[in-house]
Symmetry: C2
Subunit: 474 residues, 2 copies
């Protein structure tokens, strides 16, 4: 059983007292509850002893005891003999499950399924008998699909042969496989902050120490920080989203790509570019190539997927890399799984026949969604700073106050599930930000903004005293 | 880059001199080549320096240099400046790839695809539109499939509810997820020897130190050794195949199951029973229940899959465990992948509607295959000791001499790919054994036995001097 130290928990709840009204124990319990709900405290983790946490937070032990008691009564902690308090989720009675299902869930930045997917699946089923004579185990990918993926890269300006492609079970599977194959425990891995939290998980799981560089809606990548970090820490790996970065929507300019790739090469850093949402262009005028097109040296590893363009229920991703890297990844794969299902691969092969039409449909949906959400936010939450983005799926909204965790908790009571800003950062950063996807149906988006406005109002009734002296709150 | 120490390599090639005629360097190169081919030396691994290996093997440095040179010229090693000799595979020119494809491959113990799979896939495609309204991400499994799997366990004598089931991307994915979730680095994990090598990989990858207990064709599980090992090492996890154990085909008796489960519970060992081939009964008279039915205490974790019963190209497995364990596994999953494809799950849901007919078809195929292979071996290789098995897919044949690696190398020249005995053990054990699947088409089985007989003849022309004094060979 893993244990959270009082120091780590204190970091995770940083600012809890400044952002909440009422009794301190309620505020503390609320913050811990959110951390459990959004996975930042894993289920089964042992929380620090009350006495230690009280010391780390410089509050009385009574406050911590009351907070733990509230969490225990609400079902978020249970006491294990000899192990203290362990994080859990409350058992939801079966009758309430459907009611919970009626929540609007904007915690995922995904598009609705392609409506014609059933028909395409039928076409794939027709192809299947031609493949039944083999063993079926396919750790590298069907030749027909690898060819189609290579052809797409070539058509987009990056000459690629099928043996530079490996098919995976989605982008996260690809990231995890790359991380566990190329990283040794204790290696440094460069990540963007904010970024895609499951990539943090995969890198950490492979034993990486994460070193963050910042990306912001206004200025994009902090290139000086990026260069400094690479020079100072020589990370083994770097994980970037150079196109329509999730969550900020930023794209890295062409010249910066060249400089970053050259710098990484000099310091022995293997860069991974996650281009899962890289083709979800709305109205970006600048035409940018796949990230690997910006170097004549060792190419970065590209990761792609249909999970965002087609549907999350189709679990096919891929890796584009040098042949020698593909070889290593294929050999390493069997420790985790034995290959990609063939029917699923045939489905994606069919989808790639007219992928440009799919992307054009998505462009129209995202254009409408972005404009709709931007207008709704301007109307209902004019004090929020809403960026302009030209692609991707999300707006990274600046709330102006460090209340994202509190806001998302309040939004839950209004029927909206949405991820708090700190989920996208390391160590509790981004409490002033909220990621809002604009990929949902118009009615859902409207209901979500209504819920956010109500939640905002609810937490606004207890305004935040910035610089509130911490010692005064107990 | 990982490095193989001279000590480890010496262990892996143990016995190389006693089993080969001719020049020592050829014998050494042959053994290293096999280790690279079957994955026991991972691609990209740095081999020990010549001087060190020579010392560990007590041979002259010239012998090691000559062996490395031969491997380099054949494409199995390449020299990396500053890094010595690194394992690789030879580039196969495109024109030869199809010829290589004509090899008979008995390295996998799998059954041919169910011939009606295309039609079943069409039925699954028809169901897909009903699921398109969700996000598609499904880390736990479709309710309809979990219900069907739970019902099957209940019908087989182990009452199970759907929330005790998690759907995975095949059994190997399940084993790997369990290992990385429940093990801490350095924990001990009990394994059978011989056993399924990918399970070793998954457990090692999670940081486990493997402790083996032996299973043999004659006597099954060495229960005293099993009990001693659990008592002495208190392993965190144990990985067993209690039914038609791969590769020996043995089944653990009911009373031993009860004793083993009770002992594991006393020592805090979580047992995993891999039942992937557990339902491939041919003519076992004793009726045995799923492994978890033999305890009223904490149930072991069961792993199942359709990879062997239906086809390797359908990548669906599952885990049956206590709800709290399922919760932990689901939460841990996202570090590696984001869920199981829905079309694939619908395909398996359809297959489960008449799974008993599938199993009956397999029973007939395996009955015929086992009898056919047994007869062919008796005719062409009468000196081999061929066990009697009543289920599963493979015969674990005793060659009578420690020549399995040499035999499989010779068989390659006869057009047969087959796994050497040591692949199924730890540290180079099982050089006297060969796993032969009886699940292939009759013509392939005949061709395979012909190739084995020729290879046996080829290596037999240089009989092995047992007890051959090692110092005399250089």
């Amino acid at each position: 059983m893993s244990t959270l130290t009082s120091r780590s928990l204190a970091l995770l709840v940083e600012g809890w007292r400044a952002t909440a009204p009422g009794a301190a124990y309620v505020a503390l319990a609320d913050r811990i509850r959110l951390l459990i709900l959004d996975g930042r405290i894993a289920l089964g983790t042992r929380l620090p002893a009350e006495r230690e946490l009280a010391a780390s937070l410089t509050v009385s032990r009574t406050t911590v005891t009351a907070a733990y008691t509230q969490l225990r009564e609400a079902g978020y902690l249970h006491s294990v003999r000899g192990s203290g308090s362990v994080a859990r989720l409350p058992r939801v009675p079966r009758s309430e499950v459907s009611a919970v299902g009626a929540l609007i869930d904007l915690s995922k930045a995904t598009l609705p399924a392609l409506p014609t997917l059933g028909e395409t699946a039928a076409l794939a089923a027709e192809q299947l008998p031609a493949y039944l004579s083999g063993s079926g185990f396919d750790p590298v990918g069907l030749p027909v699909l690898r060819q189609a993926l290579a052809d797409r890269y070539s058509a987009r300006g990056l000459a690629t042969s099928p043996d530079q492609i490996m098919v995976t079970l989605g982008a996260q599977h690809a990231i995890s496989l790359i991380a566990r194959t190329l990283l040794s425990r204790g290696d440094r891995a460069l990540v963007e902050a904010p970024s895609y939290p499951h990539a943090f998980e995969a890198l950490r799981h492979a034993g990486a120490r994460l070193v963050p560089v910042s990306v912001s809606t206004g200025d994009g990548w902090d290139e000086r920080m990026l260069a400094d970090t690479i020079q100072r820490t020589s990370p083994s790996l770097g994980y970037l989203m150079p196109d329509f970065h999730n969550p900020t929507g930023q794209s890295m300019p062409a010249e910066m790509r060249e400089r970053v790739l050259a710098l990484a090469e000099r310091h022995g850093t293997t860069l991974i570019a996650d281009e899962t949402i890289g083709e979800l262009n709305i109205d970006r005028a600048e035409s940018l190539l796949p990230f690997a097109a910006y170097t004549s040296g060792t190419p970065p590893i590209l990761v792609g997927s249909v999970g965002k363009t087609v549907w999350g229920g189709v679990r096919i991703g891929w890796i584009r890399a040098e042949r020698s890297v593909i070889h290593r990844l294929v050999r390493a794969r069997s420790a985790g799984d034995l290959g990609t299902p063939l029917l699923e691969q045939l489905l994606v092969t069919e989808l790639l026949r007219d992928y440009d039409s799919i992307l054009e449909l998505r462009r129209q949906q995202l254009l409408a969604g972005r404009n709709h959400l931007t207008a709704l936010l301007a109307e209902h939450l004019p004090e929020w700073e809403v960026p302009t983005v030209n692609g991707g799926i999300t707006l990274w909204v600046n709330l102006g106050q460090p209340v994202s965790s509190r806001l998302t908790l309040a939004a839950r009571n209004e029927g909206l599930q949405i991820a708090a800003g700190p989920l996208f950062g390391l160590d509790g950063a981004f409490e002033r930000f909220l990621r809002i996807p604009f990929s949902y149906a118009p009615a859902d988006t409207e209901q979500a903004v209504t819920a956010l406005a109500r939640a905002w109002g609810a937490i606004g009734r207890y305004p935040i005293a910035e610089g509130h002296p911490l010692s005064a709150v107990v």
